[in-house]
Amino acid sequence: MATLNLSSLQALAFHRLSSSFPQSTPTLSFNFQPKPFANPRPISLKPYVSEKPRARVVALAVKSLGETEAVAVSPEDGQSAGELPSGSGVYAVYDTNGDVQFIGLSRNIAASVAAHWKSVPELCGSVKAGVVDEPDRETLTQAWKSWMEEYIKVSGKVPPGNESGNATWVRQPPKRKPDLRLTPGHHMQLTVPLENLIDALVKENKVVAFIKGPRSAPLCGFSQRVIAILENEGVDYESVNVLDEEYNYGLRETLKKYSNWPTFPQIFVDGELVGGCDILTSMYEKGELASLLKK
């Protein structure tokens, strides 16, 4: 818990009471990680008025932005050199020039920063984190507002990532890739043999999984397990629904000959058949799959 002496606490309280903002204060995007509020609303900054005991509680909840030390984010994997807390609180992301890009609040600061790094690594140079003990929604919001106010006072502007309409730092729901289709439809005459299409497909994509059913709802347990493993690995992969008789007509028989493998699912990596569900599961459990995917 941060400790403030009485005089600085009084100064802080006095400062809050006397602070004012121009009427044209820009509207802020309220970005809560990882679960956005159902109805996020623009927040206008007004002079903070509160009873003294309230102010003291809020002031003690989190260190000021200026007092907090920054932790460098590793360029390799997005992990911090010092450990970022995985608790709840407020955090500020600085780019490599030392400019604040985004101030957010989160139920898991380390996870939020890792997610940001994954999507915009060029903007994540270092992070300041302020843990809020026993966080409830209001306390987190107050902590976030206090850091925002402090930054605006010093810089005269809102962090770019918090500007209204900027969605860079908001967690996007994962977008499922569509399954690939080998033909334009059953009625169309193929001008290229199906095995040539299969060959090109597995060689042009790092990972291709031929499964029963769509990847969003596999129709057999083995295909389901394969999809779960590939999702867990976080690898970019293509999927082909071998039961799709409209767009993948004739694929099952042709693929069995092509791969010399009589069952589904079949998983190809770097153009080579890795095997079916059993082999993929075995490799996954032994860590061999991760190694293969990194080559």
Binding site: K212, G213, C220, G221, L243, W261, P262, L273, V274, D278
Partner: protein, 104 residues
């Protein structure tokens, strides 16, 4: 090769066991019919054959020096007739004796 009549009289499990044992000289051979777990399985609807899903565990010297893909292919080749006559899914564990007893 067993006669057609003989094949018809044996259960799929027996046929699988017989083919694998003869070819692989297995020291361990477990053949489990798990078809009941896949009853109502969308991809098998319409299949009149009830014996559609099997788990097999095989320990055999024939797997020595063979990759997993080659081992599984070997098993699939031995059971090609079954796969063509309604066997829908086969889960395979294929090991050498050394892999089951690394200290020997």
């Amino acid at each position: 090769m067993s006669s057609r009549g003989a094949s018809a009289l044996l259960s799929r499990a027996s046929r699988i066991r017989s083919k694998l044992q003869t070819a692989l000289e297995a020291t361990v051979l477990e053949v489990d019919d798990v078809s009941y777990q896949h009853a109502g399985h969308a991809a098998v609807k319409g299949s009149s054959d009830k014996e559609t899903h099997f788990n097999v565990k095989i320990v055999s010297p024939k797997f020595e020096g063979q990759s997993l893909v080659k081992r599984h292919r070997l098993v699939y080749d031995l059971l090609a007739e079954e796969l063509q006559s309604g066997l829908h899914a086969l889960s395979i564990v294929a090991k050498t004796l050394h892999e089951t007893n690394p200290n020997k």
